[in-house]
Symmetry: C2
Subunit: 345 residues, 2 copies
């Protein structure tokens, strides 16, 4: 079995392990953070980890009421003009814990007296060594170049941090259901394996989500780029309708992420506008109305609260990337021109 | 003459007028802001204005040392869970001043006692009415659906705000040279008109920039999408090399934005990697080394400080969008399926 496939399938176990091993640690970190007068949060990350950071932004802003900024690492590294961070919590996210620019952001934050947190799969990494606090992802070694299980583990780390920070036991209880929901989403495997044939010669498209699933749109698009080399761009449905919808023409493929929740009507409206232009919709949803628009309707399990839906909803996108790459004759374990640790400054 | 063309050509005049009419006002706004204990800045915007906000983020962080977060409007509108903003300066950017979601962010910020600022082309718009302070763009009515002169005016408004806030007279003096630099960039008109022929059947590609010109990459990609319906994605060179570079293949078109400055080596490195994969480079630069890689080298005027380069550097991208649309038989004044004011919540 491919690493990529194996690691997709491991996700329920990884999430269960993360909850078991890290909940106490994250509660201690949250208690320490609550002692400080945190005015805002800065998150530094690249690639897949940056998509997880986008989710972290929504879940921390909505649950903890704190403004979150996604860092521009070049201000710390190339320009050497970092902003003031003394009243911030600064979080570095890196699967390997070796991303040099992320380490520089955390080091600078520490110099300035900010609270610092590393979210990484390696508790003994350079990133973990420099931060005050560490959440380890407990995902086991990830061998595929295209990250999957560490992404959902990063989402869970952020959900855990937000619920521990707001100290909401009910929310904490809801997290326990996520591994099963991710497991149910894996049940779409055979459906997706058959559906991808149709997209053998697809060259470009868009992935649309909004709110908590803005991150999901970015991550699914990234997986499709990394493993099938598609030119496929993620958008918030709001931004897409603000200009780029002009690209949509007859047959234009659009993935829509539409779980039950506050943004559903907006995603449905985008779906209807796309259909009116003759576009082709692939929908991930638990709602009949959106699924009915889709050439490929992928019915998701009964709804979790929307803020937890990004964990199950990325799964059909990962599976789509896996089978699409295989049907196009690519090896998703060895994407052309990529390596596991990317050195950027 | 098309509105789109006319408004591109008006940009030096618009910028000169903005500096003449708004410098005193912005200095008064900056003085009022300095009286308050601003811990961080939040900017709310959509579409082209959001690209200007990305520039605003870099120039405010680097010049004023203040962390900037680009707002997620859905937390204010659909989810009704806005974060705490009482120690923030909250800036709403909207050409029309009618973007409902942007108005809601500023209204909520005001309810919470934050300092608020509107950047808009209409001083009598609903957005201007709700904010404490207003910078008007002085751009005259913009008739083309695809914004150009209001974009560069928004960049200038942010540059003016940053220099007034840091109270650096030398920086303020440098702003006076920008209209001429933008005028010089317009001199590339005929070169670009001839160069676009080659891209008549181009379907997709990427636009790469970094740092201050991360915004430029986004804005050029947006213009190409809006007027030529290309699937063309903007990236930071750092993020691109972290995964999406896997898309690049023989003939893959990539626009590179490479002014002299701190990020130049990173852009050049991306250019060399792309050439190694057989990609085709269109370069906007004042540096021979990058121009030498390009199939279409567009030599930009002698360097301004890098933080001001986004104003001249977007211009060849706007011209490229104009002539490419015309050579493909599209009317850039009437992009399919777009209107000037987009209602999103």
């Amino acid at each position: 079995m491919l690493f990529f496939e194996q690691e997709i399938l491991e996700q329920p176990d990884v999430l269960t392990r993360l909850l078991q091993r890290q909940t106490g640690n994250v509660q201690r970190i949250a208690a320490a953070i609550r002692q400080r007068d945190i005015q805002h949060v800065v998150i530094a990350a690249r690639g897949t980890s940056d998509n997880a950071a986008t989710y972290g932004r929504y879940v921390l802003e909505s649950h903890c009421g704190v403004v979150v900024s996604l860092a521009a690492p070049s201000l710390f590294t190339l320009y050497r003009r970092p902003p003031r961070l003394d009243s911030a919590l600064v979080i570095g996210v890196s699967q390997s814990g070796q991303g040099q620019d992320i380490i520089e952001v955390i080091s600078e934050a520490k110099r300035q007296g900010a609270a610092t947190l590393a979210i990484t799969n390696f508790g003994d990494s350079p990133l973990a060594a420099v931060a005050d606090h560490v959440i380890t992802l407990e995902a086991g070694v990830e061998c595929a170049v295209a990250a999957t299980k560490t992404y959902t583990a990063q989402l869970m780390a952020f959900a855990l941090l937000a619920t521990a920070w707001e100290a909401d036991d009910e929310h904490l209880g809801l997290l326990q259901h996520v591994p099963d929901m991710v497991g149910e989403a894996l049940g779409l495997k055979d459906t997706i394996r058959q559906a991808v044939e149709r997209y053998r010669y697809m060259e470009h498209g868009v992935v649309l989500g909004r709110g908590y699933n803005y991150a999901t749109a970015f991550e699914i698009a990234l997986k499709l780029k990394e493993t099938s080399y598609l030119v496929i761009e993620p958008y918030s449905t709001a931004d897409f309708r603000h200009g780029p919808i002009a690209m949509a023409e007859e047959g234009f493929p659009a993935f829509l992420i539409g779980p039950t929740g506050a943004v559903f009507d907006d995603v449905l409206a985008a779906g209807n506008e796309l259909i009116a232009k003759g576009a082709e919709v692939i929908a991930f949803s638990d709602q009949d109305e959106l699924l009915a628009l889709a050439r490929v309707p992928l019915r998701m399990p009964a709804p979790l609260p929307e803020w937890l839906s990004p964990m199950p909803y990325v799964v059909p996108g990962q599976l789509f990337a896996l089978y699409l790459a295989l049907t196009r004759g690519y090896n998703p374990d060895q994407p052309r021109g990529l390596s596991k640790v990317t050195v950027t400054r």
